[in-house]
Amino acid sequence: MNEPSRSISLPHANPLTGRPANRLLVFAVVAAVLAIAPLSMPNNYWLRIYSMTGIWVMLALGLNVVAGFAGLLDLAYVAFFGIGAYIFALLSSSQFDLHLPFVLVLPMAAFITMGIGIGLGATSIRLKGDYLAIVTLAFAQIFKLLLLNLDTPINITGGVNGIFGFDPINIFGLRIVSPVAYAYLIWLCALTVTGGSFRLKRSRIGRGWEAIREDELAAEAMGVNTTWMKLMAFAGGACIAGAAGALFASFQDSVFPNNFDFPQLVIVYCMVILGGLGNITGVILGAVILSILPEFLREYGAYRMMSYGLILIVLMALRPQGLMGEFGFRRKTQKRPDKDETGRLRASTDLYYDGQAPAATKRYVKGARIMLELQNITQDFGGLKAVDNLSLTLYEKEILSIIGPNGAGKTTLFNLISGIYPPTSGSIYFEGADITGLKPHQIVRAGIARTFQNLRLFSQMSVLDNAKVGQFCRTQAGPLAVLFHLPRHQKEEAQTEEIAKEALGLFGARLTGYRFAQQAVFLSYANRRRIEIARAMATDAKVLLLDEPSAGMNPQETAEITEFIRRLRDAFGYTLLLIEHKLNVVRTISDRVIALDSGVKIAEGRYEEVAGSEQVIEAYLGRKKGR
């Protein structure tokens, strides 16, 4: 490993991850502000706005989990808020003469709501983007109609008249009645949610969610159990909304269907978008601004709403990433290692060779054990056979290249192996075990990782986080481990960081140092290809499927990546299956070559044999000449 990268400390995106001294200072300031604020409000009106702001902060942070982190357009969010509120209303009032204590009702509201969230998630989870939005919107409408109409034949929700007059909150003898006490209670909860949000964001769970938001298919193909993670996001959001609902109900001392309608949904979304999706400090800021601003405009009726609309339009046009966007509080400027002392840029290739580790001591060669075996695989796309009765064997520590003209079924073959399409017929074995029909993330777990022909990085995530996603399938920490910062989770995080840096470190200064913190989208095409390879390596895979690794690279970079691929086997013992169009790359590194045409294997053997085969020349090279 190259030492320089280690010595450069990472910039941090949020105040809670800073060095201990800074972190303590931030805590102290926040604690002091929250302790003093309720006592320094000019009157009960502002005290109420202050407390409502706390509830909105909770709500916005909850939505930030679903829509910000995981990118799920959940329009039923405000219904979860309502469910929490009505659970409190039913369990803590004279409606059914149930008078359960608040310490019991608050978690019940949170967890029952979470259960309903999981239920809704489970039915709609396979819907993508807008369709998810529509189903959740329909759910929210149904919820509101039920609130309105479930007062007959038996009175459950109180219909349009709502439910009011709740038991005062009593937490082990501490009665919360005065507005000041409410302010403390609400902001304590908001603070808890904030802390939890930060911890989640910086964990494997947060990275898994962000990966889904950026590219769901790539996330799945990198070992993220997307179904499970999406359910978890739904559950997390619903849980926070439910708790906020219970607090809100008690604070307002009444609940009505109008409290949980479309306008409230719009406002929470505006808060999250205004602050910047996924950016915790931004979302808090957004919630604070949008809770206070309307109060100054309350006397202007329709003009108030008109300016709301305009602000939304202008903001989206001018600053679509929100007020805070992807900027943290203290992003330090780093010395760029690719500049020399005079400030001139040095060529990245020079840097690469500078940073090279000494030649590996161990040399691997092709073994005799069968690593991956495909038996009579067929993929039929409604009559079009993209892959037709193909059998293939990949030996341990072998480099096998697939060549063939466009449309030969090469990428489909990768999609079949990596589980993106289940094959129409045939079987796939990995290290002797049948992996046919497994989901992509299960296949990654088994030990096969891939790259994509048309780059599918998590663009808005940092280079280091991209690689860290690779470790997702090797770590286990659940939400509780993350929220309570259990040692097991800390150990995993340290390990994840080490492995990710090691994988990126193989590419030298191009992907290390100040690059760690850069968003993947800002890197050059060739570098993004390299990140994809590093990301695949970070999954601890045994077999790597590389889809056109040298595409878009200049001759020098091609030579370099060719050498690198060879090193992957020679020095690290990977087994490699690659698709490649540049025949000199194929010739240089392949142990064996398979040629495909129209989904059928037309030749197999050493490069010279395949390249010399008449069928191949006709199907592949010949056609190229004729063009």
Partner: protein, 385 residues
């Protein structure tokens, strides 16, 4: 934590007490509030309420205000959202120069804000919130110039049974607090009167198409169709589509329908012979109201039923503030006291206004009208017997 809460409770108590006891010289200014849903679904009636109250305020100011101090009329928009209604209440309560509020007109928001206005002794006079429970919770600050649902419901049931002689009744109500409660009270009354052939259904206000539910009504073949909606336009559509479908039941609408333009004119003949109830005699037939009606129509266009009570309420409030200000300074307690003493106030509604100890309108009667030509003809008055 516990200690801080104690400290804060103490401070809060200090704040509250100083808030309660305060009185201020008149010269510092006089604010009156108007709480309601001035945007969103119910903006039309609420804006009529605000504008009518504004006329009253303008008239007082034109006469030189109260002791030479101009009155400021403050809008508090809650957009029909109870949480925002609570914000409005706190805002008004926190305004030291705020001596009284007209509204909130929606029962559910009135319910959500009762405690807040109540604990600050800030008078609220609602002009439309008619849920009976509102005045049954012991709050002294809450008054209404409109009758309660239970009074209207019972009177309407009597009217259906005794005047319209109906045996089969269809009741359609909009799914909002006012109509829902009105429907419940009427159904209870009908049952008490021995009418059992009843069909009850709900409609969505503002939906503009009631043909499916009216087709269902047609199949029931009722003698009377009691169409309980908030606004006149919805009832104009109701009567029009009922006629179009060939429903021959008598159409009976609510007080919201007593609106010449938006009900009679808008239904283009379909409303002929239809009945409506109202809590006041016809505003156009009351000489005292002529001035107000003219002013309103000149400034804001056509009047429906929601404006006059708001004008009345604001005048009652300002009269009380005026009395409280006689000694040079005003306190909310004084204002509250004077409003509660309102007895036989002769305004523009055509009947004297007296508040009973609960804050309700004493002796609430229900007036019934029938559409004849382009006007409403008074038919009968019911007072619960």
């Amino acid at each position: 934590m516990k200690k801080t809460i104690h400290v804060s409770l103490f401070l809060a108590a200090v704040v509250c007490l100083s808030g309660l006891a305060h009185s201020a010289p008149v010269s510092k200014g006089i604010h009156v509030g108007n709480a309601g849903a001035f945007t969103g679904d119910a903006a039309a009636p609420c804006n009529e309420i605000f504008n009518s109250a504004q006329i009253a305020v303008d008239e007082w100011n034109a006469r030189g205000g109260i002791q030479g101090v101009k009155i400021e009329h403050v809008m508090g928009d809650d957009a029909m959202d109870p949480a925002q209604g609570v914000n409005v209440a706190h805002k008004f309560v926190a305004d030291d120069l705020m001596y009284g509020v007209v509204g909130p007109p929606m029962s559910h928001i009135a319910q959500a804000t009762l405690k807040i206005y109540g604990s600050a002794d800030l008078v609220t006079i609602t002009t439309a919130a008619s849920k009976p429970e509102l005045t049954e919770q012991g709050y002294k600050h809450f008054f209404r110039v409109n009758a309660r649902n239970d009074a209207h419901g019972w009177n309407s049931a009597l009217f259906i049974k005794n005047y319209l002689k109906a045996k089969r009744v269809a009741v359609l109500n909009e799914k909002v607090a006012y109509c829902e409660n009105m429907s419940k009270e009427t159904l209870a009354g009908l049952e008490k009167l021995g009418i059992t052939d009843i069909m009850q259904e709900t409609i969505v206000g503002g939906a503009k198409d009631y043909s499916p539910v009216l087709t269902k009504v047609k199949a029931f073949k009722p003698d009377v169709l009691f169409f309980i909606a908030t606004t006149a336009p919805d009832q104009a559509i109701g009567v029009r589509q009922a006629k179009e479908l060939g429903i021959d039941a008598v159409f009976f609408g609510t007080e919201g329908a007593r609106d010449k333009k938006d009900f009679i004119e808008a239904s283009e003949g379909a409303a002929q012979g239809a009945y409506v109830y109202h809590f006041a005699p016809d505003i156009y037939s009351i000489p005292e109201a002529a001035d107000y009606v003219r002013k309103y129509e000149n400034q804001y266009g056509v009047l429906s039923g929601f404006g006059p009570p708001a004008y009345e309420a604001m005048n009652i409030l300002l009269s009380a503030i005026d009395k409280a200000a006689q000694d040079g300074d005003i306190s909310r307690k004084e204002v509250l006291q004077y409003v509660s003493q309102t007895h036989g106030y002769q305004g523009i509604l055509g009947f004297p206004i007296t508040f009973d100890p609960k804050g309700d309108l004493a002796g609430g009667a229900t007036y019934f009208f029938q559409v004849e030509g382009q006007d409403f003809k008074p038919i009968t008055v019911m007072t619960g017997q």
